[in-house]
Structures are given as C-alpha cells and as structure tokens.
Symmetry: C2
Subunit: 425 residues, 2 copies
C-alpha cells in the first residue's frame, strides 16, 4: 500500500511509532482517546441518520462565515498605560487555532488611535526625502507593480508582557501570548520603489509613516528596506483588512510589529533615525543604569504550547498531542524541544512549516498522561543557533525595566485533575 505514498507525511505526523504504540496499547481506547469500539445494536444505531440529513441545508453564501458553534474571538485586553482613543491591542486566540496560518478575521491588532476607514481611491503613498525623483503612488499604480508572496509572522514587541506580572495571570494562552500571527503577504518589494525614486548617496535610514490619526511613525535602517521589506497589498490571498493596514502597509519581516507601518502614506529617505514620538516615548527599553535600548528591531526566537494550555482541562488520561507555535525574527526554526517535567528532560517535537524564514512553524509531539502533575514547556532554537531563554534568566537580565521582547519560555502546570494553569517555572 506504500506505492505512491507521500512519505513526508510520516515525518509530519510525528513520532509515529510512539503514537501507534499508544493507539495499540489499549491505553488509548481505555483512556478515552479514541473511537469507542462498537458491536451489534450500538453499531447499527451509530449509522442512523442525523437530523441534518433529513432536509436540505442552506444555500452557499456569496461571502462565507464560520459555524455558529465556533465563537473564538480576539481578546481585547487593556494595554499598559496607553490612553489615546482607540489605542490598544487585540490578541489572537492562538489556543483555538491549529496549523501555521492565522485567518485574517483573527489576526492580532495593535492600534494607537483607532482603525481608519480609508477610501483607496483617495489614498496616496509618497516616496520622498533624499531621492532623485520624489514619487507619489495611487493604490491602483501600486497594484500594477511586480509582486511577490511570502509567509511571515508579525509579533508585537509587547507580546507576553502580561507574563511579567508578579503572579502568573490565569488567562488563555491567546490573552497572554496572542500578539503573534502568521499569514501569506503579497506586495511590491520596497526596494523597487526606492530604486525607481533613486536613493541619493549618504542616505542611511527610512522614515515610515501611517495614515491613521496617530500618524504612527518609525525609523528603519535603509538596508532593511532594500532587503526583504514589502509594500503589502494582499494578506492570505485577499486585499488587506482595515485593521491590518488597508489599502497598503509595510511588512518588515522578523522585526517588531510596529515597524510594519500600517496605512502607509509615506516613506522618507533620510540620513539618520528620525526619533519620532513613537520611538522616544514608546518602544524603548530602559536599563538599570538609566540609559535605554532603542531600535531593537529583531524579534527573538520563541515558542508557546497552545494545546493544552492555561485555563484548559485535559479530557482524560491517555494520549494527548502537545501542539504549539514557534518563530524567530532571525530566520527559520531549527528545533523545538518539549518537556513534560518542568525542564528536567526534553524531547524533540516534529515541525511543520520550518522551511519558511520568519514564519510561524507548528510543532507537535505525543504525550502519554497518566494522571500525574506535570509542567509542560517548549524551547525553540533557530537556524542561527539562538535558543529561547528560560523565564528566570530573562527576567533577571531585563525585568522589570524592559517590558518588550519577552521571548522567554512559557510553562503550563497540569494538575492531577487535568486542569492546566499558567505558572512561572
């Protein structure tokens, strides 16, 4: 039966032999993993028609929606200290999702003065400053340019800073760590527009500014603009959503989320960082000596187990799949290890999507839970050899002054009753 088999699925399923052992051991069936075995009348009954088989269903909608039985939404957790109208984050419910792609409906949002309702016919993108030819682009003009499509994560620099509270918040994984999403972006390489405008000698930085009421503005080294930065127009196949920068945004792969300026209205070529309000009053990282780090662009290597995760309860003993997401601003994920004993022992998880740099990879491994108390952890390593730090080490080095770039390991404690809690381990 192996003729024509897609052999890579073996690897993607994970430690197949171990899982089959669970499945075949009787543990699985006895422990409630699986299908109940049926005989006689129970089998016949199971084949009876369900109510929805007895009458025609609804027609296909022109524009689809999800099942009324699925209700996961973004978590509107109040941010730390932001006070402008319409400012705040909305977290992706990562614990309700699987795979590597985030549906646009649930992509995290971070806004500083609300979501503008932009008419694409009126929107313009200006390329100016130290250029030979200042240029202004309509959206229709941008849509005629050569495009490329790549899958990239976006992560807010403030993701996981709720896990710096004195006591571990008992919230779902998404409300703690859900300022991370991953989608397929399509757009025009910024490099093409810069080359068309003609960058003058001596230019070294860019200023990117959004058309929201906050005019969110960030400085970027020009090298990144000539590297993999996109002027993005589509997300997961469709035009950008307003909350994601419609009609046009920057997408700066692997760098902190707000450098990917949404509702992009201008890119100014300059000879140094502009020190905008958004990078002096915010998004700097104070150090104990009173100085501050600035322009810490790259997001660190990180992972989080999404299933099981905090506030969930295990359905019973036996086989459980441990599943989570991992990413690194430095490139590809090379390895994710999982521990079920608070870091004493580790095993390698199986990865999906790890071939894409600066994208979310899914990791999975099997776990045979026999009712013991346990602490689940994951630890990611990227292709540059960077390893996700333990929480204690990260906190000792940076907290409480630094509230950004918390890429430390996440720990979920499983109780004897199967309840899962957020802990600092």
């Amino acid at each position: 039966m192996d003729d024509g088999r897609d052999s890579s699925i073996d690897e993607q399923i994970g430690p197949v032999s171990a899982r089959r052992a669970f499945l075949r051991s009787g543990t699985a069936l006895a422990g409630g993993l699986a299908g109940a075995s049926l005989t006689g009348s129970a089998l016949a009954q199971s084949d009876a028609a369900a109510p929805w088989q007895l009458k025609p269903g609804a027609p296909a909608a022109p524009y689809g929606t999800r099942s009324r039985f699925e209700q996961a939404v973004r978590y509107p957790v109040k941010p730390f200290g932001d006070i402008a109208p319409g400012s705040g984050p909305a977290f992706t419910p990562i614990e309700a999702l699987e795979g590597t792609i985030t549906p646009n409906d649930l992509h995290f949002v971070r806004i500083h003065n609300g979501v503008p309702d932009i008419d694409p016919k009126q929107h313009r993108l200006l390329i100016h400053g130290m250029v030979d030819r200042p240029l202004v682009f309509t959206v229709d003009a941008l849509l005629r340019y050569p495009m490329t499509s790549r899958t990239y994560f976006l992560e807010c620099a403030g993701n996981s800073n709720r896990n710096l509270a004195a006591q571990p918040p008992q919230l779902p994984a998404g409300a703690l760590h859900g300022l991370i999403s991953c989608t397929e972006w399509t757009g025009v390489p910024l490099r093409m527009l810069l080359e068309e405008a003609g960058v003058k000698s001596g230019a070294s930085w860019l200023l990117a500014e959004g058309a929201d009421a906050a005019s969110l503005s960030r400085s970027l080294p020009i090298e990144k603009g000539f590297d993999d930065t996109l002027v993005a127009l589509y997300q997961n196949g469709e035009r950008l959503r307003p909350e994601q920068g419609y009609p046009v945004r920057l997408l700066v792969p692997g760098w902190l989320g707000n450098t990917s300026v949404k509702w992009l209205r201008r890119v100014k070529v300059v000879d140094g960082p502009t020190q905008t309000k958004d990078e002096t009053s915010k998004y700097t990282e104070p150090l104990p000596d009173g100085k501050a780090l600035q322009f810490t662009f790259e997001m660190g290597v990180k992972s989080v187990i999404t299933r099981p995760s905090s506030t969930m309860k295990l359905a019973g003993q036996g086989f459980h799949e441990i599943s989570g997401i991992a990413w690194s601003g430095a490139g590809r994920i090379a390895r994710v290890e999982v521990s079920a004993d608070g870091g004493k022992t580790w095993r390698d998880a199986v990865l999906t999507g790890q071939d894409r740099p600066r994208a979310v990879a899914r990791f999975r491994t099997g776990w045979d839970w026999r009712g013991q108390e346990a602490v689940l952890q994951s630890r990611a390593t990227d292709e540059k050899g960077k390893v996700q730090p333990a929480r204690q080490a990260w906190v000792a080095a940076y907290a409480p002054d630094i509230r950004f770039h918390n890429n430390s390991m996440v720990s979920w404690a499983v109780g004897a009753d199967g309840s899962v809690k957020n802990v600092y381990a």
Copy 2:
C-alpha cells in the same frame, strides 16, 4: 546594502532585470505604471493630511471583517442540470485574489443538497466494514489525535466546463475557472484511524459518506486512504467552515473535489467500489462509443492567468504584471510558460509556492504592452512532466461528451483599447 539580504526574493520578484529596464526606460513613468514624479507645491500638497488622519478611527473588532471598499464575492453560477434543492456551485473570484492562499470566506463551494448546520457535539464519524474493530468517533475524540498540516488545492471536477460552450462566455475568470481554491488543512491522517480499526485482509476500497441531506458518497481505492488523505478539522488555522464540511471532512489531495467528502459521517472499508448514486448518475465521463470513464480521480495539470483576465480593461500602455495560478493533482508545478502572442512564443514565468505538492503555485511575469492586440496564454508543466493541453486538442479528444476534467489552456484576448476578452484560441 546586500548584507543579510534574503537573496531568494530576487527570484520571487521575477525577471528583475527586465522589470528594472521597464521601470528605468521611462516607458513605465510615461506609460502610467508608476508613481508620478513631483516637484515644488505638488510635493507639499501630496504630504497634506487625509481626512482619516484628523480623528480617531474605530476600535479593533473581536472578529474582523474586510474593508467596505472590497466587495468581491463568490459567483453563484447555475450548474448544468442539477435540480436538487440547495444544489450548485459557488465560484471563487480568483481574479480578485493574489498569492497562493484562498481566504476561507471565498473558498469555492459545491453542494448537492445544501449546507447542513451540524452541531459538533452530536456529530459522529464511524469507521466500519471490513475492520477488526468498528469504531465511532466524537469530534472531541478526533481533536485529540495527532495532526498534520499541509497546503493543498481543491478543484471541482466540473471546473472550467462553462468554457465548453459554443461561444466563449464573457465572464470574469472566477465565474469560468473559479472552482479551484487552496488552503492550509490540518487534520488526522486517515491512515491512523484505519490502522486503529484494523483493516481486514482483502479490503481494497473505501466508501466515504457525508452527513448532508444528499448523503454524498464516493468510493476511493484504499491505497489513497493509507497515503496522504486527511480527516480534516481545521482550514487556514481555524475550524472548518460549514460550507467546507464542518465539523469534519475528508481531504483527498490532488483528486477531484467531491472525493473530499464534506461533513464526513462514515468510512466503510469494502472490497470494491460501491457504485453510489453520486458515481453512477454523476461524475462519469461518457465516451463516443457509449462506454464511460469512471473513477478518474486525479486532477490534471492546469493554469489560468488571473490578472489581467476576461472582462478587465488594461489601465494603459507600459508595464503590466501577468499573474496567475497553476496546480497539478500529480504533484508539484515544475514550470509555467506564458505567451502574449497566442502561443507563437513563450517565456518562463517565476513561481512561488511550487515546493508544495498538490497545492496552488503563483506564477508571474512582466509584460510591456504597447497597445497591440494580443492573446495571453499560460501553459503549466508538473514534476511528472505532464503538460497542460491546448484547448483544441482537449476538445477534439473529449468534448462534447466529457464535461469534467477540462484542464486545457485558457486564452485571454487583449484589444487595442485594452479590453480583455475570453476567446477560444
């Protein structure tokens, strides 16, 4: 500036040198491709604030939606001869999309008796027939199984049969060829469930049945069930949509769409094809001698240019990107060639996503339109060496008897006024 550059983007942009030549030749600027060059007061004016910069925008929604300025919907084209309530196709507007992923909202739909509204708590999946242990699975039980995530296209066998009409319909590309979509699927390999049930010696086929009112049923060789077939639970990260089989469906990679039985309620292990109503009265392919082909599962290698495409109008002379999608049920796309002269000359397009077997790849190439009449075509080749056939050859071999599996080349005629029409070339 090349330090740290992601060099693969060069390849993904396409024939960069050719495009830069366009951009730099003045053709682009003169021909209306690009940003308008600005000086003096025009430059200052272009930097004036837009209305949405002057007041705070809307808060982030718990569950997002698209811009009110984006209105693309699925095309509800009436099918050929189907008469059951709630039967028919809804086509993906492929001409409005970019990249390789189809958003779930716009994934094509083919239903035979409407979309059932299934309560996942009440739904069951039965594995029975020639097995050692008949098993019944709740959805919660399935959600505990080891999962894998893969990106696959789905295509209805009847896709493109509107292009078998006597005269080429003047419809958008999606209304003609939009029964194709591509998403990331996450689920349990069917193989795991079959192995748990224990397939008896002599078993050679499967019967898969849906829980819709049509009880759509298809026969599959058991080898495919042990290969890459998934019991899919998630699509693009979220749980399946009702129109896509919520809460659980088969996903049979590369094979005609209706073998990926939605709302999956049972898989019966049998020793031959079941010859269900859905494979005797439909989905067979009559031959001139009165016999019929049956169980022609694999979808052929195919491509279609989505931009520009029929019913569009080119905005002006100069640079245009020709962009489209290609796929093959036999594996990966190896090559897509594009012609702008009705097949006299061809050039290779640049591919994105061609590393994924049985998934949509995006192809793109630049085109310098000088106002001449033109016929645009694309021709895909897969990794098995199969080449998309010309329309005339396909029609001569199969039409009018066969109305499925039309993978022949698509031709768009560009008029001197820039209008794009569907033609048979």
